[in-house]
Amino acid sequence: MIGSFLDQFWSLTFGGLSLGFIYILIALGYTMVYGVLRMINFANSEIFMVGTFATIIIIRDVFKFTQTSEYATGFRLWLILATALIFAMMVSGTLSMIVEIVAYRRLRRMNSGVLAPLISAIGVSMVLAESVRILTDSRPVASPRAMEKRFIGQFFDAGIRIDNTIIVISALVLFGILMSFVNKTRMGKAIRAVSMNPNAARLMGINIDGVVSATFLVGGLMTGAAGFFYVLKYENTASNIGFELGIAAFTAAILGGIGNIKGAFFGGLALGLLETYASFFLGTQWKAVTVFIVLVLVLYTRPNGLFGEALTQTRA
């Protein structure tokens, strides 16, 4: 067991890294919202699920790929990937803003405590998951493969697959854009201000509703990108994938310290690797159990995560 683990170590690691980057992007959805509202956005997992479907719509219905089509190459391939990524991000981002208006805004104005928005967000995520389930007849949906999954390099014995590479590089770029958005722009400053002290921010003339909307939008964009990468890597989706991925990404966010953007980065990577290694030893059916045990252990021993809570600490 150990011997074959060492043999496969690098290929497991690459798989785990790309999974980790998917987790990072979803975890950013949780963390951004948590930073400003101090609330878990339960609907984030379904926003991710919708992102995966948006990706498939582009590949399958817009560019008319089928299971037997030839792979796209060159410029056409990059066009398809970019369109799918941007479309998934837009759909998820918009949906995320709508979720905020439907599930949170009114309750936030009524100052209703913690329980009510949680329940209302769970209701919204139920509605999203069920609508998609009914539309897809409860069946999983496979994505046609637009890109040949070849190896572009070799690292020790492990081949480096092109989809994993694309995921890691584009997720890094998105993460960099997000960091500079939060740290360098005016809106980013407003988001940090609201997360530090909403009342003071309001007194300074910051439009809280606008900031909250922007935060949901940004979180949704990241989560939608994760949906695209998920389809690129696993080539299928279903109306119920949000749940498992959502819990895992939430665990990643907690692991790094929820509300902390850098924390989401390291938490996502750590969880992606841990989950991949654990699946190797225990079998993939226990994946969710591993994640859950990590979640309980972290919350029990270090509830603020490894890097501490709060968006405010992302100042460079």
């Binding site: 609330m39 878990i40 339960f42 439907v102 599930a103 009114r106 309750l107 009524m110 100052n111 209703s112 405590g113 913690v114 329980l115 009510a116 928005p117 949680l118 329940i119 209302s120 769970i122 209701g123 919204v124 995520s125 139920m126 509605v127 069920e130 609508s131 009914i134 749940f243 498992e244 819990i247 939430f250 907690i254 059916q285 226990w286 969710a288 159990v289 994640v291 859950f292 979640l295 309980v296 919350l299 029990y300 509830p303």
Partner: protein, 339 residues
């Protein structure tokens, strides 16, 4: 809007002892005679009317009463309530098929198992803030299902077959299709649960839960051992869920992991929220309506979870107290608290 809850309470409180007994007896008689109304407008076009009375309606009512202790009374959001239901059901399934014990002997064991797992989950989870508790319980509910799905001893995805029916009591035989008998037995369990919750609510535990729900820190400062009472609420809720599970298994005679998905937790949550968190009569009303409507109206039965999700959103935003809100006195404290 008129507050039916206060109207009802007024009528009840103005009665003497005899009046109350008569009222209660009338209520129980009406509810117990529901199985005889199968041919009337109440009839359900899709499923057999009498079996609908047992599951979902009576089962939902029982579970909603249990979940209400956790959510309504003490304000702890438990999204993994199905776990306790599953643990009760699997206890019944395993012991009922592997040992010679009958349902009535397994019932206390199932309840004990559910309570025990409530403690195991509660000790780490209840130290945390509300939203973390929600996600931990959510995960726990799913873990129990995954364990059942992957452990050979629990039958994996095939589940457990040939679970025995309860043995006859007072000469009444339980057979697979004698829904009435099951319904009346569940009614007894429900009455026991109502009695337990009402007794507890009127005493120290009820006051402690109420104070935890309104302001946990203040309660702690005033000397309420909040952690202990939270565990209590959690474990009592679990015990009701476990009892429902044991009985469910010996009614359906066959259980599989698919019967215990996250959706059950959400359905029961919807019942509690729809009826009115914290008020046991509201919760019962909510469970009856949400258990009954999907079987009465064909459109809803195809999309029942969608409808229940909508119910959660709409109720939270427009009438957060539910159909039958809790007592006015408790509500005024809420209002003051919020401003």
């Amino acid at each position: 809007m008129i507050n039916l809850r206060d109207k009802g309470a007024e009528i009840w409180e103005n009665q003497g002892r005899v009046g109350r007994v008569v009222l209660a007896l009338c209520g129980v008689t009406v509810v117990a005679s529901l199985p005889f109304l199968g041919g009337t407008i109440l009839n359900t076009p899709i499923a057999d009317y009498e079996s609908v009375l047992v599951y979902p309606i009576a089962m939902f009512v029982l579970m909603a009463i249990g979940l209400n202790i956790v959510i309504g009374k003490s304000g702890l959001l438990d999204l993994g309530y199905v776990a306790f239901f599953a643990i009760g059901a699997y206890t019944m399934g395993l012991l009922g098929t592997k040992t010679g014990l009958n349902t009535w002997e397994i019932l206390p064991i199932g309840i004990a198992m559910a309570m025990f797992s409530g403690i195991i989950l509660g000790i780490p989870a209840l130290k945390l803030r509300g939203d973390y508790l929600a996600i931990i319980t959510l995960g726990f509910g799913e873990i129990v299902r995954i364990v059942a799905l992957n452990l050979g001893a629990l039958g994996r995805s095939e589940g457990i077959l040939n679970i025995p029916t309860p043995p006859a009591i007072f000469g009444i035989e339980y057979t697979f299709d004698s829904h009435r008998i099951y319904y009346w037995t569940l009614l007894v369990l429900i009455l026991l649960a109502i009695w337990m919750v009402r007794r507890l609510s009127a005493r120290r535990a009820g006051r402690a839960w109420e104070s935890i729900r309104q302001d946990e820190d203040a309660a702690e400062l005033l000397g309420v051992p909040t952690f202990r009472y939270k565990i209590w609420a959690f474990v009592l809720g679990a015990s009701v869920g476990g009892a429902a599970g044991v009985f469910y298994a010996s009614k359906t005679l066959f259980i599989a992991p698919d019967n215990f998905t996250l959706q059950i937790s959400i359905l029961i949550l919807a019942c509690v929220v729809f009826g009115g968190m914290g008020n046991i009569w509201g919760v019962i009303l909510g469970a009856v309506i949400l258990g009954y409507l999907p079987d009465r109206i064909r459109f809803i039965s195809d999309a029942r979870l969608l409808v229940f999700g909508l119910v959660l959103v709409i109720m939270m935003n427009l009438r957060p107290d539910g159909l039958l809100p809790r007592k006015k006195r408790e509500k005024t404290i809420d209002k003051k608290d919020a401003t």
